[in-house]
């Protein structure tokens, strides 16, 4: 694993279906109905059921942990939830694409990775950054 400023992480593409949202709701304890109930989602002005922002954040982290090969190497991680990921009621769901670039070499061997997370060509997270200590 090389880490120089500009090093690009392998791109990660993941699909998120309604079933994934139900599974994440149970695992996380976040049962907000906008993540599983189309009627409620539309009532609050959303185009449809949306993914939990925290699920998107967790999936994006995989691009980093797949690269380091060590989940414990991820020290700091932050995102801003920019745009909701609408998950259609079909078997394909929504597609997320995660790209990462080494943005800075920090002291103590740590590295800052900046992430770009898109769905349907639109950025869904902004200011998505991870600080890792590669092994």
């Amino acid at each position: 694993m090389t880490a120089e400023v500009g090093t690009e992480l392998p791109e990660l593409v993941v699909r998120v279906t309604r079933a994934d949202l139900v599974r994440y709701a149970g695992a996380s304890g976040d049962f907000n109905p906008i993540h599983w109930n189309e009627r409620v989602a539309r009532e609050v002005g959303l185009p449809g059921v949306i993914a939990h922002g925290m699920l998107t954040m967790a999936l994006a982290a995989r691009a980093v942990t797949d690269w380091t090969g060590d989940p414990a190497a991820l020290l700091d991680y932050q995102v801003r939830f920019g745009r909701p990921v609408v998950v259609p009621d079909d078997d394909r769901g929504a597609e997320l694409t995660v790209r990462g670039t080494v943005a800075a070499l920090l002291d103590d061997g740590r590295v800052r990775v900046d992430l770009t997370v898109t769905s349907e060509g639109e950025k869904v997270l902004s200011l998505a950054r991870a600080v890792v200590r590669p092994g």
């Binding site: 695992a27 020290l75 991680y77 801003r80």
Partner: protein, 148 residues
């Protein structure tokens, strides 16, 4: 209603102890597609130098978000819960969360401001073991969208 800047620095009593279980970590890891065996195989976790299976990086939210919500039930904060969305999230891990941890969450309001009619409130949740070892600082920015 504009947020009162005097709220900044307000701290809440520590939460009840949350006991981190192996099955909960494995369930969470499966839900986010984190397939590394350190999340579900104790032997693999120990071989990697951990005392037990470790949680994926965002697992802390399971404990911290509920703790952060203590501010939403504070009448003096006065955020309209029905309009609250999650704006930003940040984790600073002091060490990985692992099975067997007995975590206590302590919440502090780090920032409170009103921008363009939206109330922005930043709640910092310090997760530590019941013995006082720091584990993770989880910071959530909550946004109450303006009624207009």
């Amino acid at each position: 209603m504009a947020l009162d800047r005097a709220l900044v620095g307000r701290s809440y009593p520590p939460s009840a102890v949350y006991e981190v279980g192996r099955a909960k970590i494995a369930e969470f890891a499966a839900a986010v597609g984190a397939t590394d065996p350190v999340h579900h195989d104790v032997e693999a976790a120990r071989a990697a130098g951990h005392g037990d299976v470790i949680a994926p990086p965002t697992f802390a939210i399971v404990v911290s978000l509920e703790a952060a919500f203590v501010v939403l039930t504070d009448d003096e904060v006065g955020l309209d819960y029905s309009r609250v969305v999650h704006g930003e999230q940040k984790f600073a891990h002091h060490r990985p969360i692992r099975a067997g941890d007995r975590l206590v969450a302590t919440t502090t309001i780090d920032a409170a401001r009103t921008v363009a009619g939206n109330d922005l409130l930043t709640a910092r949740v310090e997760l530590a073991t019941a013995e006082g070892e720091p584990v993770c600082t989880a910071t959530s920015m909550l946004v109450a969208r303006g009624a207009a």
